[in-house]
Amino acid sequence: MPENKNLNNKSKMIGKQSLLFNSPPYIIGASSITGKKEGEGPLGHLFDAVIEDPLIGKETWEEAESEFMKQAAEKAIQKAGLTNKDIRYLLAGDLLGQLIATSFGIAELNIPFFGLFGACSTIGEAMSIGSILIDGGFADKVLAITSSHFAGAEKQFRYPLDYGNQRPYSASWTVTGSGAVVLSKNNSNDGGAIRVKGITTGKIVDFGIKDPMNMGAAMAPAACDTIKSHMEDFGLEAQHYDKIITGDLGYVGSDILIDLLKEHNIDISSNHMDCGKEIFDQESQDTHAGGSGCACSAVTFTGYVLKQLQEGTWKRVLFLPTGSLHSKVSYNEGNTMPGIAHAVIVEAE
């Protein structure tokens, strides 16, 4: 057996729930494939592909979501200049029961696979675990990917699409699409490097919200807890980051998050951004509280945030996808909606 030559064995653990990587993984490729409505939104021109047909040529919503994921995976691998064989692990998940969008979407890729469920925080979870695998020496290249589809999510969590109902102001709009990130031990890009410096893994936080039409309120306390722990673990101020980017709190949840953090003497009102607020134009697109779903934070990160880092507009961001861990069964049984948020430090060098 070869001897472990890694002498740099100092602990990567920081504080209670954070990690600081010894050799931070590079983001060498990323992709964003979205549906029509997302394409018509303010970030539409930034996505790799906007697909008009919501079924993307398939028979069902579930198969369509799988196709979005497959195309996003292939695009990200291609943009990283790699082939499927180069990817050591695939970390992926979606919102549908038993992750069927993922399983059927990525089966053909022939890449060793870990399925993840973190609801809409999945891309944060996948990037976290992917970075751990790379920094730990267990992989050299990892693909983190997630997807969601408006119609599939409506069918599973709410009503059949043709059912007539009114959506309250606090309801969000599930983003149709898929976003993928290729993490690598070595930088293959010629230009500047973008690296995942560290992570803070979220705990399940439950403040007793039961209204599935107000997911922002259910997730905001989880985001607050993760940001607070992050700042404590690393001994940082909120202003350390050019942007603190939450996943899909939307308009309602973002206001709550800022309020809650102020009580902990953390002021993010000037550098907070929420993917759910960015991806749609609330006024003209009638999206109420904003976008949500796994793809919301994934495509906003890959389509918009990474470009800002590449272009040097921002140097350092805290990316914090948020998820509401409820199901139709837990709702019917009268349970609350626990939230989670996984923070990832992304820096441009």
């Binding site: 409505k37 919501p54 919503w61 408006f150 119609a151 069918k155 059949p160 699409l161 043709d162 209204d211």
Partner: protein, 118 residues
């Protein structure tokens, strides 16, 4: 005149139910159940039928009217057939509404596909 009554009464019932929807977070499915049961109850108390006579379709078309018809069916069946009527009347009275909804919906599923919202 009957059209005005139908419009005003039907509209008023819907507007009241809108308060229930907006202020209580009750899901539409629950509201439909509440409406039908209210109709059954008011029918049994002998209140809904005179009201429906007066308001016409304004009281007949809302689901409360459906509930009223259900009870009326049970009552008529009991009057005619005694004990068995308790079990028979409800479905007899609601047969037209339920069957037409089932049959047309099934046929609709052959021709139509779910539509993405935009």
């Amino acid at each position: 005149m009957e059209y005005v009554k139908a419009f005003l009464v039907g509209g008023a019932i819907c507007a009241l139910v809108q308060i229930l929807l907006d202020c209580t977070k009750l899901m539409p499915g629950r509201v439909m159940v509440i409406l039908v049961c209210t109709g059954v109850f008011l029918g049994a108390l002998g209140i809904y039928e005179p009201f429906a006579e007066w308001a016409g379709a304004g009281a007949g078309v809302p689901l409360t009217g459906f509930g009223n018809v259900l009870f009326k069916g049970v009552k008529d069946a009991i009057d005619k057939e005694g004990f068995l009527g308790i079990f028979k009347g409800g479905f007899t009275a609601s047969a037209v509404g339920i069957s037409s909804a089932l049959i047309f919906s099934y046929i609709a599923s052959w021709f139509f596909n779910p539509k993405m919202k935009s």
